[in-house]
Amino acid sequence: MAGEEDILAHLQQTLSSDPENPSNHFNLGIFLWKKGDIVGGDESKDFKSRAAEHFLASARLNPGDSAAFRILGHYYSAVVVDTQRAIKCYQRALSLSPDDFEAGDALCDLLDVNGKESLEIAVCKEASEKSPRAFWAFRRLGYLQVYHKKWEEAVQSLQHAIRGYPACADLWEALGLAYHRLGRLTAAIKSYGRAIELEDSKIFSLIESGNILLMLGSFRKGIELFRHALEVSPHNVSAHFGLASGLLGLSKECASIGAYEWGASLLKDASEITSACSHLSSNFSSVWKLHGDIQIAYAKCLPWENKITSTHIDEGAFKASIIDWKNRCLSAAKKARLLYQRALHLTPWQSNIYADIAITLDLIYSLLERETTDHDTRQLSERMSLGSLIFEGINCDFWVILACVTNDYALKQHALIRGLQLDNSLAVSWAYLGKLYIKLGENHLATRSFDRARSLDPSLALPWAGMSVASHDRNYSLSEAYESCLRAVQIMPLAEFQIGLGMLAAVSGHLLSPQVFSAIRHSIQRSPYYPESHNVHGLICEAWSDYQSAISAYRLARSALRIASLSKDSAKRCLTDVSVNLARALCQAGHMLDAEQECEALNKDGMLNCKGLQIYAVALWKLGKNDQSLHVARNLAKNVSTMEESSCTAAIGLICQLIYRISGLESAISTILKLPGEYLNGAKMSLILSAINALDPNNRLQLLLPTNLSSFGAYDLIIEMHTITATNKMIQNGSEQSLDIHSGVKYLRKVLRLYPDSRLLRNHLGSLILYSGDWLASHIAPRCTVLPTGYPVKTGLKSPFEIHGGAGVACYASCVTRPKWLHQEPWNHEARYLLILNLLQRAREEKFPHIFVLV
């Protein structure tokens, strides 16, 4: 205290020594002012009034000193409470130095409290025009402009203010808002992001940038921001809402790539979050609507889980699991219906909720379809969609919704055309119109509608799918149909599209395509009650040589068929097809007994068609029941005349093969000779004929063989014919015990000159050379075979790897090829054996005993 007294005395002394110096007055004033701040109560007032006297004196002596005016302003506003005087002092201070943020802010606060907003803006504008460094003015101006929604001007003021206060989170937030409202979304995200960086708990920035991200479709980032916002303020309705809608968006993304399980779990989370949200405030219609949307999405996304893994399929369990799955979907849809009703009850003037209820009702009916088809209840969804149209008759989407929910074809057509009248580039409407025309059998109109829809919006799935259906009676090829269906599935993974794709793949030979595989897997998850999806799945598994899966898929298909409510005739037909497929898969998997049982069961029902007969015959033969097999073959032969051409040759081919295998060469030849000539024309038949002919030393069938090989269209067939001819040559020229390999090699070499790129020929040649025992064989053989890349096609002949391997062993050459072979076919024992053999030989040669351990 003593020090302070000294300073006071000193200051007073300097003042009295030079009373005309304004700085002396000012310094004393500052000292007294500070003292007034320190002490409280009346004493403070006392000090401050004394200080004010000195400031007044200072200001009088030096009217250009803004600081004195500023503090006088403080004095009048805080101590004397004379607003007018305070404002005048501050204004004076500002006119002297517009950068003075203390005076500026204090003045603006005063004006703000007194409601003089326009004056406040004028002050800020004046200061900002006077000095570019009056950042306080820019800041305040920016905020005011944001408040008055003058976004363009606000952006400029705020940007300028940020130069002065780069670490002010509020400024960044306001700038973000201004950008957001101007529609400059990326800039807005950046500004909001900066605000969040500066201040972690900027809830407004978090939520708004989250909303922008959702709008832009980057759901993951948005979700992150909303989660952060919820950490900051756990009861924020907007953050809850944003998080839930982000999850909804993400789940839709998941469902569109087929990750149904994941999508469903996301939706479960979202549903919980919205429940919490609606508990926080139950009168937000939008929250209820969002919850409804989430439930609908859940009903559309929940996958059926195939819990049945064993080969023995319990039909009851299958049925129960499907019913359980359906009920879960149904209860979600029903929940959605209640939630939408709540939303509607709160805001009955929102037309889209009427449409939502209509769609929900439609979904519920489609899930219930197999139980009730009540006409009255069906009308309700129509009625609700009319409700939305009453509000907004000019909304073409509502017309399309009406068309979708109604059952009346005339009304459907009317609504779709009405939609087109309102917006003639409405692709959806054209697409549905096409669908309607297909249903009505107007295929020509349908294709035209689909064409329109496709050219208006190529990213719409329905017209693509529609085109593939409408392909039958136009010159639209099968592969084109497949391609367009594939496009539809890629755009929208709908179970119906996927099954269609699978069926098209089956007839157009695309069963091995991975896209088809995944599409069918997805279709099973979303519509397990369709027997078609299981059946096509089986076909695909068969094509991939996965017979076990194929068998279980066919069994599921059969269970699904029994559950499905089809008409008796069609059910029976489908059941036969599936059973034949099953028998074939069993046959191929080596379960001959099961296959035989399947065929017998079919036979009992009188449903054994020609395909079934073939399988039956093969199964019996494999089981060693030769007589029965021949009996079946004879049955088959009886039906040959009634068959189509393609299945006819297959049947005859099979019969010939069976007779050869069972009764031997002689009876086979005699049977063939007895057959009418027109059956022997096909390419496959010729192969069989030439093979049998090759084995026959007397060449009795020579006459029946086609003379000119190149008359066959197919390239592969010619090659095969040539290899058979080579074998024939070897048999003809060889003795009883051994074949004349050299003549075969000679013939094949000739053919190779004609077809130098044939792998099959090269393989054959390679293996023949190896057999020939020529001392150079091991070097030549690898050179004439080519290692294939990709998936090796299985043939009964030696694969190129094998030849390489054999050659390697023969000459103790490098062991490079064998690990490669082993790598590609790790199940192949022969490869392993050859590799080990090779290593042993090398080890013995180089005397490295430790290799034995490795092996």
């Binding site: 405030s281 139950s282 009168n283 209640l338 009703q341 709540r342 509607l344 009850h345 009955p348 003037w349 037309s351 009427y354 209820i357 209840t377 309700l380 009625r383 609700m384 009319l386 409700g387 009453i390 509000f391 907004e392 008759g393 000019i394």
Partner: protein, 322 residues
């Protein structure tokens, strides 16, 4: 004046309860409480034990938004979200008539005090529909005149979605409240629009006339206020605040001394009209209170006042009003 909680029936419906009304007493039975719910049923309750007076009444395909009882106590009506009104006999639950309106054109409804007409707030039609209660035919439609600014193509009538309707006790006037906050008053006999009452700017979800004075109208609005109007002189008499959220329902006590309101803030409030202030707040509900209803006087030996409130929490609360 005072409210005292008598009984709360939890889970009275399977879903949120949205509407309630008292069916007046007849010669052979006391007054019954009628409730309508999102679960698509309408139920009748005996007082004071709140036991079901009849099995749940079906007949609706969507949630029930409004119920009304004929002053004779014999007939009642219920309306659902699909805009069908079912008129039924209270004793036997047999349907008397099904009144169909275009979707979204049925909201609240009330019988005329003498019972000759049923007035239905016409939602998006921007009008009040009047149905004759003997022939069950639509007799008139009182349309709110369009404001000049509204475009002719705008079918919503310039935001005039009519949510609520109320009869004056003498049956001469009809008031209806709309989504934009305006209240329109009609002269029923001349079928003429009289004037708007202004002061609200959010949806007016409930209206009631004072039973003693045909000039006094109370309105419940989403702006959290309850207004008291002089419906003839177009004056706002008082604006009463106290609720923390939307006011969803208002009803006037039979003695005309008090009104009760239900709100989104989950409370029921009793307002003293001489003090024009809230005198009591009941917090028996755990979710928003959609409807409050005072029991009309009458019936044998029943003097005590009763107030019922129904809520989104599926419960009904009954209070003694004295």
């Amino acid at each position: 004046m005072k409210l005292a909680g008598l009984k709360t029936a939890e889970n009275a419906h399977d879903e949120s309860i949205w509407a309630s009304a008292w069916v007046p007493a007849t010669d052979n039975r006391p007054a019954l409480l009628l409730t309508g719910s999102l679960d698509e049923t309408v139920r009748l309750w005996r007082t004071d034990e709140l036991s079901p007076a009849a099995p749940p009444l079906g007949g609706h395909a969507l949630g029930v938004v409004s119920v009304a009882a004929h002053p004779s106590g014999v007939v009642a009506a219920s309306a659902s979200l699909d805009s069908f009104i079912r008129v039924f006999d209270v004793e036997s639950n047999s349907s008397i008539a099904t009144l169909e309106a275009p979707p979204s054109e049925v909201w609240n409804m009330q019988f005329e005090p003498k019972g000759a007409i049923l007035a239905v707030a016409g939602g998006s039609s921007a009008s009040v529909k009047l149905w004759d209660t003997s022939s069950w035919q639509l007799v008139d439609s009182l349309a709110i005149p369009r404001q000049e600014s509204s475009r002719p193509t705008d079918r919503t009538g310039g935001g005039k979605f009519v949510l609520s309707v109320a009869w004056s006790p003498d049956g001469k006037r009809l008031a209806c409240g709309s989504m934009d906050g305006t209240i329109s008053v009609f002269d029923v006999h001349r079928a003429k629009f009289l004037h708007h009452l202004e002061g609200h700017f959010m949806p007016v979800r409930s209206l009631v006339y004072s039973p003693l004075d045909s000039r006094v109208l109370f309105s419940a609005c989403d702006d959290t206020h309850v207004h008291m109007y002089d419906a003839e002189g177009k004056n706002l008499v008082a604006s009463m605040s106290g609720h923390a959220s939307w006011v969803l329902s208002v009803d006037a006590s039979p003695d005309g001394a008090a009104i009760a309101t239900g709100s989104s803030d989950r409370t029921v409030r009793l307002w003293d009209l001489t003090m024009r202030a809230s005198v009591q707040t009941m917090t028996s509900h755990s979710d928003q209170v959609w409807s409050v209803a005072f029991r009309p006087p009458g019936g044998t030996g029943v003097r005590a006042g009763r107030l019922a409130s129904v809520s989104d929490d599926k419960s009904i609360s009954l209070y003694d009003y004295s």
